[in-house]
Symmetry: none
Subunit: 185 residues, 4 copies
DNA sequence: AATGAATGAGACTTCATTCAT
DNA sequence: CATGAATGAAGTCTCATTCAT
């Protein structure tokens, strides 16, 4: 039931998993308390379903911001920019996925492992096209993901005053040349 | 008081904030239930105290792994390596700080903002010494912190099979030259 | 709901507000502890409901003891007699209303203000019929109410050995001629 | 220890018996928590001591407002006036004595029985001097006391806008001639 | 499928009282 | 006599879940 899932999103987003209540969810959904159990088995169950649902949404939003003709660096820049924008528009969603670490570690790991896998695939593609250097692996994907997530937390969820593009450009420049001083060759 | 804080660390680390109980803490500490309230006002109160305590500990461990004669890149590498090692030895602590995002957002922000400030200071020092490029700012510190934290999560907390040094070296290489293919000069 | 209110009456009456417990109420009512909270929000809440309920009961008992054809003095006499009898039969109720002064002053004031208003109306009626002297007001009602209440406390709650009628007659004689010696006219 | 008794008066008066705390009393008294138990055995113990202390104070205030040369009616009028004034100046004290009904019924009964006895003595004196009619007894004393107490509650504690003298005059007139219409003889 | 009253385990918190210093 | 940390019993309230209608 979509109504319940939307209500759960609002309830969990606003109050956090433990302060959220089933009755709060059904109140928002406009259904009877008991009806909740027609669609979900437990409180953890909705939460799990919700995390998966949202994880999928982030994925789609970011995915659809990428074009097949983008360069590998452009792709990373666009991915971060769209992620940042998404985080701004869906602060609750972000919070919910993070809380999964404590409520349902399985969903949490799944979300980040899936994301890392996708990033790693992009890195491989960049290697193949000759833009990225060879030899990158899972750890690089996690490093990149961490960078993106923390920029999303700091400049998406906590404060959204800086243009997403500026931050995406900063991240891109780190990827392009690191942070070393120009080798004055 | 120290006894209670240690007990709280074990209890919160093992069961998470909400499943942890005051009676669990005092049982571990070997004190009477009521004694808890001689030192802390509420469950949130110990948690807050604990997060600050641990935040300070990470800081000290990482700080003491850095030497004054290290190069800027060496410093970053050492910082990540010691952080990874610390995360491996103190998986609970890591988990507790992260849970603060939901239990006591103030402490959580404080922890990451303080950390970011310290990283930014290192970046400035690197700029001054000519190793790092000029013009870096807060956003770069957050990107770097995110990289470190996620490597810590993936390779410290979730799995500790890879040598911390290898991961630190990977991160260092990203910082040194980014991920672009060698400019075939 | 009624079951709970009755149980609350017994519990509060027997043990007083602070020694009474919700679990004592539900035990008497034969319901689960949690069911209490389906009908009342807090312990204060039942207490308030109970005071109103009982205040209303005293009113009805006294009211129904009065007849339209009674003289004004007869009315006062009958009111006191029925009040005394009621106090004897419901010592707990009396105790509960009085405890409201400390637990829920609002209900307490409401009870006595309502009662005073009713008494004042009787005084006015007596004035109109020419039995009572003119010019009486709220203060006279309070004086009369205090007289009744203290006789109820002393000879209803504390001891019930004297016939209610005798006491009502004493009160009536005070109202009829005061306590001055006969003006030897 | 007078300091503790005064502190207890403030604490009990402000928060009521059950919300009052020993630590609240010692905090007000400026002594250590443990010192309380040097002077009193239990919380009930101070309360009892306090009620007696205050009961005695009312008695003295009222007593000292009466002169040996007053007529019996004047005496009653003055007693009520001084009682009203006292209630206005010591609203807490009034509240404390009343709460004794629930906390320490013994003190409560003692207070009112003593007061009734004193009033009855005044009635007898009035009878002897020929001002009051003969044949009055305990019940008359309780009726008179109830009148006074309720006027004290309504016009002393709840609201003090009306002059104590006016109210005392009203009560006196009830005593002098009751509330019957003038027998137009 | 929907409803919502009933259930009861469980946890936080308070505070009178003790006692070693 | 004073101190105040320690004690632990006790009680209120929440809420996920069930189930008869």
């Amino acid at each position: 039931m979509r109504k319940l899932l939307d209500a759960a999103e609002a309830e969990f987003g606003e109050r956090g998993f433990h302060d959220a209540s089933i009755s709060g969810i059904t109140r928002r959904a406009g259904t009877a308390l008991g009806s909740f159990y027609t669609y979900f088995d437990t409180k953890d169950d909705v939460f799990r379903a919700l995390v998966r649902d949202m994880s999928e949404r982030v994925r789609q939003v970011v995915g659809s911001s990428l074009g097949p003709d983008m360069s590998a660096f452009q792709t990373e820049e666009a991915a971060l920019a769209s992620f940042l924008t998404f985080a701004r528009d869906h602060k609750e969603i972000y919070r919910i996925i993070d809380e999964a670490e404590f409520v349902d570690p399985g969903s949490y790991r799944e979300h980040y492992e899936t994301t890392a896998t996708r990033i790693e695939a992009r890195l491989k593609a960049g290697e193949k096209s000759g833009e990225f250097r060879a030899g990158m692996e899972e750890a690089h994907a996690w490093a990149l993901m961490g960078m993106n997530v923390f920029l999303g937390l700091r400049y998406g969820v906590w404060s959204d005053s800086r243009p997403a593009e500026d931050l995406a450009a900063i991240a891109r420049s780190i990827l392009e040349r690191g942070i070393a001083a120009d080798r004055g060759d």
